[in-house]
């Protein structure tokens, strides 16, 4: 008996030590900072970001603190995306995911083995808060594609902005499946929110980002997904026994593209890519713009297209960021030349594989629209009620 008590006391002592270790490791590394300072000192976490202003890249970097971004999917791409935005000092991050951290995720960045078993959003929030306590982090641990959760998702992205009651400034899709992408698409079309789609192929050798401005650029339902053509013979592609491969490199690069373009959009500098692909096998980066499909199946997309067409278009004034008269590069030691990019293709017709730029393809060809769709209405015999049908099915 006393032996057992001794043993228990030893365990308690051990746990106390462990708890103390945990407590110290979770301690805040620094306190919150009210204003971003441009002062160049080693202790200022924002000095290198504020330097972007001094170098005339970004006008008012500090505006980033007024921005709220929703990151949907906190996996290989989403966690790195959230990490980058946190380090950039984003005002508010809203994370959505319903998965747990697993050891099988360790070939990707961000999560650490000790986090296995924790929910991804919870684990991410802890790390992010430790990295930068100035960022407001909100977590949502549910699957957005189910009927009940979708309404919560809609409410969150429309009301949980930096100012409560305002929408978020941008939605970033970092999910790994078509269903969730379509759900985000439906939500953003309905609430007229700009969003980026991102993805990495299941064989890990290509990735892409796509900027969707409802009514202005093609929505995710306008055409079959646009993907990077890898030119791998289907027959040589072995998929035995696996669902998906992944590499930290491809995912990190895709997250980098995503956040880079998100920053350009939020802080209004440079040129935001509408679609940017990455073929890892030959390091090719196709880029293009996709126009919305006037026959899109999403009626909110059609509504946004009408609104967009009715809106007066701003006359493009190229803002001269660097007003200095000096040549951009006075010397060219390495003889670097600029080579013309592929012309962006604008296709007013619903996209066909033949209409996309070299290096890209549609995941599959769109079905031909059936002309007689209206006579659909009532082939369901209304004599039997739903309840009867349910009962009939149950009794089989």
């Amino acid at each position: 008996m006393s032996h057992a008590i001794d043993e228990l006391q030893a365990i308690i002592a051990e746990l106390k030590v462990e708890l103390e270790e945990q407590k110290t490791s979770n301690r805040q590394a620094r306190s919150r900072i009210d204003r971003m300072s441009a002062e160049v000192v080693d202790s200022n976490p924002y000095s290198r970001l504020m330097a972007l202003q001094r170098m005339n890249i970004v006008k008012e970097y500090e505006r980033i603190r007024d921005k709220a971004v929703a990151v949907v999917g906190v996996g290989g791409v989403g966690s790195v995306t959230a990490d980058m935005l946190t380090r950039c000092g984003i005002g508010k991050l809203i994370l959505f995911d319903y998965d747990k951290v697993e050891l099988a995720n360790m070939n990707r960045l961000f999560f650490t083995p000790d986090q296995a078993g924790l929910s991804k959003v919870e684990a991410a929030a802890r790390t992010l808060n430790f990295i930068n306590p100035d960022v407001q982090i909100e977590t949502h641990n549910y699957n957005i594609t189910t009927v009940d959760n979708f309404d919560r998702f809609l409410a969150t992205i429309t009301e949980s902005g930096k100012e409560l009651g305002q929408p978020v400034d941008l939605v970033l899709s970092c999910v790994d499946n078509f269903e969730a992408r379509m759900a985000i698409n439906a939500a953003c079309n309905e609430r007229n929110l700009n969003w980026f789609e991102s993805g990495v192929s299941e064989n890990a050798v290509s990735g892409h980002i796509q900027f969707i401005r409802p009514g202005d650029t093609a929505c995710f339902a306008c055409a079959p997904p646009l993907v990077v053509a890898e030119n791998i013979d289907e027959k040589t592609l072995k998929r035995e026994g696996v669902c998906a491969a992944s590499l930290p490199t491809t995912m990190g690069i895709t997250a980098g593209f995503l956040v880079q373009n998100a920053l350009k959009y939020l802080l209004n500098f440079g040129e935001v890519s509408d679609y940017l692909g990455y073929n890892a096998l030959n390091d090719f980066f196709p880029r293009m713009t996709l126009k919305p499909n006037p026959q899109c199946d999403d009626r909110n997309c059609l509504l946004r297209q009408k609104e967009f067409q009715a809106r007066p278009k701003p006359i493009e004034v190229k803002e001269d960021v660097s007003s200095s008269d000096e040549p951009l590069h006075a010397t060219n030691e390495w003889g670097i030349e600029l080579v013309a990019d592929d012309e962006p293709v604008n296709c007013p017709e619903p996209a066909k594989s033949s209409a996309v730029v070299q290096g890209l393809k549609l995941a599959y060809e769109a079905p031909e629209k059936e002309k007689v769709e209206e006579e659909n209405v009532a082939t369901v015999s209304d004599e039997t009620s739903l309840e009867d049908l349910m009962a009939q099915m149950k009794s089989m």
Binding site: G241, C243, L386, M393
Partner: protein, 164 residues
């Protein structure tokens, strides 16, 4: 690709016509009736051809489905619980069918036991919106999955026969 016997099975499942998801409350009821009619016919066909292999039912809103499926292997019946939600974007996106008790037992599964479908399923589904329904997802998604995975799992000793 779809083999001849699957094609024959498919051609005997009634196609659906109403394009409506669970958020469009009124029209969804119509779609749900089509779903049930199509499923009832499919189960009847299966019974007639001696290949009865699943039962499904839903909550009253038709948004959550659950039931059983079984696979015959060397005269033994291996039975599994099936479940799935109807996604908000249905029928544009197919339901993600799950066999929770097999979660973690095969690589051809996503989290929560959602079965990993072939590259051909999604394009095929996309080309047939809104004509394909739950019955088609079962015939084209779950049936071929069971046919490939279950014998393999039995052979590896990962699943064993349980007397019911």
């Amino acid at each position: 690709m779809v083999d001849d016997s699957t094609r024959k099975t498919l051609s005997n499942i009634p196609l659906l016509q109403i394009r409506a998801g669970p958020r469009e409350k009124d029209v969804w009821v119509q779609r749900l009736k089509e779903e049930y009619q199509s499923l009832i016919k499919y189960v009847e066909n299966n019974k007639q051809s001696g290949s009865d292999w699943f039962r499904l039912e839903s909550n009253k809103e038709g948004t959550k489905w659950f039931g059983k499926c079984w696979y015959m292997h060397e005269l033994l019946r291996y039975e599994f619980d099936v479940e799935f939600d109807i996604p908000v974007t249905y029928p544009t996106t197919a339901p993600e069918i799950a066999l929770p008790e097999l979660d973690g037992k095969t690589a051809k599964m996503y989290r929560g036991g959602k079965i990993c479908l072939t590259d051909h399923f999604k394009p095929l589904w996309a080309r047939n919106v809104p004509k394909f329904g739950i019955a088609h997802a079962m015939a084209l998604g779950l049936a071929p999955w069971l046919a490939v995975e279950i014998p393999d799992l039995i052979e590896k000793g990962i699943i064993t026969y349980k007397e019911k």
